[in-house]
Symmetry: C2
Subunit: 513 residues, 2 copies
């Protein structure tokens, strides 16, 4: 058996059943091996960012790693920014990066670069496999490392290691369960909560699952503590029937104001509420510097278990989540409130929301609180262009569920090639492009640092001249599209898209001021 | 003066007059400073690959570095693959990468990553500036390093270093001239050439300028040596009136066959003719293993000087380049030969050809040999998606000259956002998309490694289902476009585009077999 086949069979045996791929010459044998084994779905992306972002969402929705297939250091480089996001999302991914043959690389052919060096900033595990005999066992180790660390494993595969005979299918390795928070942390949190001083329980990760939120709500109801999610999160259970968790605002002034009175900060599966950026003469943390910090569960711990033990320690009774009325479809002129309420009114049950729209995100967040139950995946690492690839991967991972991208126009352009994969795979993705023709956030950030935009700044922040024609752009890659210039049209287009299979794009014309 | 202003003023004083930018929050003060200083043209790219690829071409055409402006590690990551190409092209670039404030980064905000680690594989000089007072002098050092090494200098700029007062404009630093090849190398090459055994003079870099080629032709005529360029080169002077330099074929069998008899290999400003990839049971070098290698000039030496000294040493007389007839416009069905002849017949004088079309490149190369005089920029590092950004940067660097991209469809999709910048800046770029709906090279490579394509391989190598609609895609970003289904149409569209200002895209429907 050649190395490539042992690799593919090991991945499949280890539970990896999807491969997001953008292959090149060095990966030929891997591709051929995909045809000889069964049990791996291969999905082509026209750009590596599509591949890595899709693998991120796949892991968020299934809890298990997908493989990526990329070509040499430069191919990996194109996927790195969305691997950064995946690292921050703490999800498992197994990258397979084809590379020059071991005996050819010393000759320094054109694609030679420090592939391991490129992989390291985003990877928990990086290994370049030098011998065919160990490729299978290394692949098993890669999958185990990705799962154990909830992180990224990058296996660099020289082409001769791939094509040589001598491959041995690796035995899947066991993955230990998540660590438990120590009893002392539970007791300490309970002690703090019983004092009934102003306390914020800051949550992320699995604490934001439906189960985690229900337990946290018991704790909050019993103690008067306030609950909040981090500003951005990997996956949040939202909509009616779920506890309506709030989150730390993105803009620093709002975040600081909201948390000004916090005396105790309890961290449940997350770190401190650090602001995205520093600004002159503004704090870098959403909570006051003198708030006392208590770690209930570290990021790597089983936070749902920790919350459950805390609720029991407090004797906190079950609390039903109050019914909330569904929003109404709105009519007339497009406003951020009206658009988000309309989407929330029409959102199908069990949808997946992918939101990447920094200046308008609160409108959608607020309205969707009362939508049908759904999951929300967010851009947690800040590398932009996450939305279209995440939507693609989520749809592959969760067939039968509608995926809705709430997508800023500027961000969409980084990875717009994802639309083509959505068309090819006929994925149930509805992309709502919030078309305002500018990097709106940058005008706001420029003001935040005390500068006024001159001609150059305007040139660099406006993405009109020419306007992007979203309908043609979408249709050019096989995704039907239409423009909404009123809320009535928006509602009609949402209904149309939600009633049928396959992808659709709506250009929502908004805030051209 | 704040740091950002000292940085911008230092760059301008050091001769950097163009900035290709995709800014984010950390770069706000730099953007504001661009408005306070004059002498720097700022060009927005909607994706960082556009920015870095354009800077590469700018340097190829002007010989001097442009600045790039990117946002944090993830922004740099998106530009890395085309920086890899720029490194291989040995051109100067100065990257400005905004980053988290020095005091905020230790809090590990979401965009934090090892920005220096990401920069290092492509950079000759990497420095993270920690104090505003030295930002100007570090910027001067960055420009000098880029120029001296013909490489990439990456200056990482924490936002507080940018916004703090205390900036001092840096003094431009002198750059030493290129090293001269030692006399011994000249004499050794002359001795070899006088033996009149089968000798290949392999050239790259400045040896492929009009002056370099003329001198090399003198040497070849006087000695019977054969001249060849590397497979891919930074910039080649081509067309009528220039010596019609050949190049080492990309496909290894052709390359080995062509050079089978070579006894002596003289390297003129380049390394060995290493093949792009290794293949089972095939050599990794285009010349025989027993050919004797002689270094006339290293990559970093002044190769034109070395060639001139060698020609003088040999007493080689001037040789006029023979007149060659211009190709004819062809008619009828589209064939690779017909299309390339037609382009060559109509190409305006002083055009710039950007070719990224691996399976069809020889057709265009051969036909363009007899076109009007032009420069050719090639994808020298193998990271694909180089074409559209290179075309964009070349047009910014050389106003008044027509830029023609000969562009494979698969490659174009990696960085297609470049079209928008071409429209915004009204650049004289004509993009000819060779539309065959597949990664044709991969079918060829799969065969080369001895595998036959199964269903998965076909799925991963064909980029139809859906077909890309190039006209809509181009028009969506403001670039007028039309389809050529015959050579007559192709000729008409080329004439139309060449007769007017601004960008245009032609979908050349080719080889759908």
């Amino acid at each position: 058996m050649i190395g490539a086949e042992s690799l593919v069979r090991t991945l499949i045996a280890s539970g990896v059943d999807a491969c997001f791929a953008n292959p090149g010459t060095s990966e030929m044998h891997f591709v051929a091996a995909l045809d000889r084994a069964s049990g791996m779905r291969s999905v082509l992306g026209l750009f590596e960012g599509v591949v890595t972002g899709a693998a991120d969402a796949y892991a968020r929705m299934t809890g298990k790693p997908a493989a990526t297939l990329m070509h040499c250091g430069p191919g990996l480089a194109n996927g790195l920014s969305l691997l950064h996001n995946a690292k921050r999302a703490r999800v498992p991914i197994v990258n397979i990066v084809g590379d020059e043959a071991t005996y050819h690389e010393p000759l320094d052919p054109p694609l030679t670069t420090d592939t391991e060096g490129l992989a390291r900033p985003v990877s928990a595990w990086v290994r370049k496999v030098k011998r065919t005999e160990v490729l299978g066992s290394e692949a098993a180790a890669a999958v185990a490392a990705a799962r154990e660390t909830s992180g990224i494993a990058t296996l660099i595969l020289p082409s001769d290691v791939s094509w040589n005979e001598g491959g041995v299918v690796g035995t899947p390795l066991p993955v230990p369960p998540r660590s438990k928070a120590p009893d002392e942390s539970i007791r300490e949190a309970a002690r703090v909560l019983r004092q009934r001083e102003e306390t914020l329980i800051l949550m992320s990760g699995a604490a934001l699952s439906e189960a985690g939120l229900m337990i946290a709500y018991r704790i909050a109801s019993a103690t008067g503590a306030r609950l909040s999610a981090q500003t951005f999160n990997t996956r949040v259970a939202r909509g009616r029937g779920r506890y309506p968790i709030q989150r730390v605002p993105y803009f620093v002034d709002e975040a600081v104001k909201e948390n000004a009175g916090v005396k105790h900060l309890i961290l449940a599966g997350t770190g401190m509420p650090v602001t995205f950026f520093a600004y002159p003469n503004k704090p870098g943390m959403a909570t006051p510097p003198d708030a006392k910090v208590h770690v209930l569960a570290r990021t790597e711990d089983d936070v749902v278990d920790a919350l459950a033990r805390l609720a029991d320690e407090l004797g906190a009774p079950d609390v039903p989540v109050a019914d909330r009325p569904a929003p109404d479809v709105r009519r007339g002129r497009i406003t951020p409130e009206g658009a988000s309420e309309t989407l929330a009114a029409l959102l199908p049950d069990s949808s997946i929301i992918i939101e990447e729209a920094i200046t308008l995100r609160n409108f959608f967040f607020n309205a969707l609180t009362n939508a049908a139950p759904h999951d929300s995946l967010e851009n947690i690492g800040g590398a932009i262009g996450a939305g279209p690839p995440l939507a693609t991967g989520a749809a592959i991972a969760a067939p039968g569920r509608r995926v809705v991208g709430v997508q800023a126009d500027g961000s969409a352009m980084y990875t717009i090639q994802a639309l083509w994969t959505q068309a090819r795979e006929n994925l149930d993705v509805t992309t709502v492009v919030l078309s305002n023709n500018k990097y709106a956030v940058l005008f706001r950030e420029l003001a935040a640092v005390g500068a006024t935009p001159g001609k150059t700044a305007n040139d660099l922040f406006e993405i009109n001249r020419p306007d992007l024609d979203w309908l043609r752009l979408s249709e050019s890659m096989g995704v039907e599209a239409a423009r909404a210039e009123t809320l009535d049209q928006f509602a009609d287009l949402l209904r149309y898209s939600f009633a049928r299979k396959g992808p659709f794009l709506i250009e929502l014309v908004i805030d051209r001021g």
